[in-house]
Symmetry: D2
Subunit: 362 residues, 4 copies
């Protein structure tokens, strides 16, 4: 169980979905960065259940408490610990699930690995674990704003099943995305997406989709080849989010259909800077940012918990059936948008600090 | 520059494409594992240039020397260092590239990051760097064979541009893949793929494609959530390979079109084991292997070096044009197959050792 | 600020002496280890202030709360978070210290490093930070008991200033040590030590001394040369404890007076085992345990806070004087005994798990 | 087997005493640092056998080759690999030692840990392994000179058995130390020390002693509490050197005899800087450098290999006797001086880069 992410800006998350609570310890945060509880709570509120009619109606306030590392609104350079106590626990709702493995969940694999499992909720495999990541990223965002003002990280729902948004990554705004409860960057498509989610939920079923993310105004030079290439760390960060099945940057999988002549990004001097006139590289070349917008997509599978009966087995090895109960998202994407942004922010903050250690310009 | 991969089974690669040579130090390899120079050379030969008519004709023997860590064909438990001296260097071939940034290469970003750059070849960004990975993976393969016999890792070319192979991941064999120089798992499609590569090369252009990889007979329980999930480490491993733009596991991006009812993998007891009757999860659930075949795909962009004139800039900031010279692969996929296998092998060996540290069954 | 210790069994501590509280997150603990809150509270009580008439009279209950990682008294294999809320805060007592650097404290160096400092108490430099270590070690102790029963780790006060204890490391018991409030392994010397501490405190002064520690029944084979030698990790662990100035193992500094012929430990077969007939090596050879008792000593300087006026400077750069206030230990050693044991326990648990990853015998 | 040291400036050593050779890979070195083969060879020559009449007469040229990471005398920011091929191998000289465990050597513990052992020489436990450290430190020294000119690191022999040197750490020079073959900082005591070493060698015996090290002009603010305190990392670095048994900083063990009033270092403003008027802290407070000279001592036991018969056992478990053969140092200290400097240099370079990552002043 490795719950540490990052090298210079490091986070350690802890906590099960049911139990005392969930949280995070941040180590390596520079001192004298302005951070407030409001910064953190704001991001947690974008992630929390019950925020709109298309997400799970569970009532979890997800109220953050800062346990250490701050004084008078400034970071001390010491570990910052943030904790969210669990409140809305209904262990009874999970009795059946304690003995039957939920299909395409982590119940069986946790049992296989650990020989023991948190008996209710998803334990560490619950999306509730991401609270620590989002809280830490709220701090990381302040680090970026202070040390390299101008970096912007925005994610949005690009598709729900086959319903596609049309979004210009260079101009889409946070206001566009937050203007609709599905958090697509294309508000015109929001009604169709919302309708689809509601219909699928009414049918006791679930859907997935694709989240796109852009990082604008990233300085050139971030990324640590050979193994800690920027796209490699972004890929790892995204595939660590529950329910993800794929990652692509720039031209991605569809770029495999082009020839080199079509795919290469020509360089031109623009306003005294080295720029590319196309961006199929997605802002990263050789594992290092090139100053263009970093653009990637993440595939989310349909939610595993559905309200229909499915074939499964018990932990004692008998075939059986199980129908989902409880209050679950029929589509995780609206709430996953801040999580994608959070992981991207953590990757950027980590690489910004790593670059400072050896930067030839300072 | 972070050239370390893995936690328990750790590798450190070094070396530029031009210079003394390239190599690797492996730390954390268990003692008493049988390893021979032949094991290593065999894998390097699958990766080396000049092996067939559709790869670069550069003559690089890539002869490995084991500098430490072995005695009488057994690992000592100490660092294993493997070195391949550079031989076929033609610095002159790169004179123009020393001042002009090759489009969609790492020349500009290395300059931006480091303020200095290996003046010829691709330096660390060259595919030559992967020699160290392939050599280390030959050792990792022996670790898997010794500690958990039966694990099989096979990669093959799934598509070249729009030409698709049809391959059953459960039955494809190494012999199928090695039977054709393009290394597709579908020998019937090999002639079309080879013809496409030759045609595109004749045109001074290049192509990319998709490599698929299967890991068969992986024990349940490997993977270290929350951040070192098996699919997250595989994604990072794959995106650290030069020219990669995407990774997907199991149903991947196309899984976003399904509903949960269609997507979930039902559990059944088969021969006394917990099995799934479909495998859209791709062998991993909640970041931990479930005992089914692990199945993933990696997108490779078309080779950046093409023999046509392209717009670019000089390192002193002037617009110019550049046409590729030298002897390059018009398609990297045939030689990338052993690299994908190598990175998958390194991930598996690392996670197998990590699991041993805390395994409740031993 | 690096607050992580260990590789396989890793702990992350957090918290300032004044503020929300202090705690620890343990990652890498094996699953199914029996752990209770009582295990943890018992060790914390040995460390806490106010436990006897020769330690600080501060009233800190140091009540632990387990926030995650346990179910029904067994570890889940997931991060275990333990938190102790701060209660007895008297910020006012530190007003003068906020502007005057306490001699031989960390006030000045924290300001120099971070440009900011927790304004009262010692922040992270306070001995209160060790609560997280002691709590984590209580869990590590259970890991040792479960995976390798028989390992015993005992520390005791070997000297207070020039008052020396006479202790046989092979036979001293926990009961001997706990029988007296100074925690010496030589109860006959306890009255003299206690009298010295009381006298020095009455004089507004302070004293230091030496703590000795023995690890009995450690299996051969623990330690990871070249850099993570067992004695190297023990040295680091001990020098990370506040107020420590030295570490020696086996013959230590006095061994430099012997010749090789006098110093070498002869091997003999005893009861079918390879044993040494002397133990100047201190149980470690070449960085790896040899099965004999591991024996080391740690030097603690006299407490820096004294009740006399001392020359110092202000944070704004003026010469001034400062006399200590508040309720401090005139001698830290009685409370440092469980901390030395805790750090030794963490080192052993980490190395035991690391050895399991590559052990040739399993 | 963990052969990595450092976090930001990281080194990975490899190689056995007999076999292909020994070497190091440095990762994390900043780009554009001037480094020459001469820098490296100079330090290796201070460490190599055969350099004077009081060290082992083995003829090992220890000629370094730089395999990667440099161009035109500047670091590239990529891994720097340095290799020294083994030449003077006399496997025959070790035949008896292959079956008999040398007392107070690592033969038995390597067998116990790994179940296999390099059959001749000391394998990784040989002092020959330190070649990689010394070579890496020659690079680290250039990093310090470039990024923070003025830092001086000097070590010298402080005692041989009971023969003590008298040295002022503030004024001793490299020339003083290199003026005599024993490398004491007190040339007046050199003849007595040399005579002692020769006499003890003539007797087939060996001696140890103490090496002292000073780091002058270290900037305040280096060190990463809680666990990576500067003294903790120095302690670990020193105890990782073969034959070491103890470490103390500042007042060390003898400081335990003082009271707090005697021990505390008063602060005064001197030339506009915060300074201490004594230095019992040894230049480090709370784990962070305070700008004063960092002063520490390392205990080296007498060389384990002696030319007298000693009781031991065979690897098959029989009691026997063994007398050392071959060409060994009767006293390792003259050659250990550059190794102590090397490890101190590596610690400083690592902490300097770590501080840059989060420095509030840049």
């Amino acid at each position: 169980m490795s719950s540490t992410f990052g090298h210079a800006f490091r986070i350690h998350t802890f906590g099960e979905s049911h139990g005392g609570g969930v949280g995070v310890v941040i180590d390596g945060c520079p001192p004298r960065i302005p951070v407030s509880l409001e910064n953190i709570q704001l991001e947690l509120d974008r992630r929390r259940p019950g925020q709109s009619e298309i997400v799970t109606p569970r009532k979890e306030a997800d109220t953050a408490e800062i346990l250490s590392g701050l004084h008078d609104g400034l970071t001390l350079g010491t570990p910052i610990s943030i904790f969210v106590r669990n409140t809305d626990q209904r262990p009874g709702a999970y009795d059946e699930m304690a003995v039957k493995y939920r299909p395409s969940h982590a119940d069986y694999t946790y049992d296989a690995k650990f020989g023991i499992r948190a008996p209710s909720g998803g334990g560490r495999a619950s999306a509730r674990e991401t609270i620590g990541r989002v809280a830490a990223a709220a701090v990381a965002k302040q680090v970026l704003h202070t040390l390299h003002p101008g970096i912007e990280i925005l994610a949005w729902v690009q598709s729900i099943q086959d319903i596609q948004a049309h979004v210009d990554p260079e101009t889409v705004t946070a206001a566009d995305i937050e203007s609709n409860i599905v958090r697509t960057g294309d508000p015109a498509m929001a009604p169709a997406m919302i309708e689809r989610i509601k219909a699928i939920r009414a049918d006791g079923n679930s859907v997935g989709g694709i989240i796109q993310c852009v990082i604008r105004h990233c300085p050139p030079g971030l990324g640590e080849p050979i193994f800690d290439k920027l796209e490699a760390d972004l890929a790892k960060a995204m595939l660590s989010i529950p329910a993800t099945k794929g990652f692509e940057i720039g031209s991605g999988f569809s770029g495999t259909l082009l020839t080199g002549r079509e795919h290469n990004d020509p360089y031109r001097m623009i306003d005294g800077k080295v720029r590319t006139t196309s961006n199929r590289s997605g802002g990263v070349q050789g594992g290092i940012s090139n100053g263009e917008s970093i653009l990637f997509r993440v595939a989310f599978k349909p939610t595993a918990t559905i309200m229909s009966s499915q074939e499964t087995v018990t932990s004692s090895g008998d075939n059986t059936e199980l129908a989902g109960k409880g209050r679950h998202d029929a589509c995780v994407l609206p709430r996953a948008v801040p999580i994608v942004e959070a992981m991207a922010t953590l990757v950027l903050a980590d690489h910004l600090l790593r670059q400072r250690a050896t930067d030839h310009r300072s």
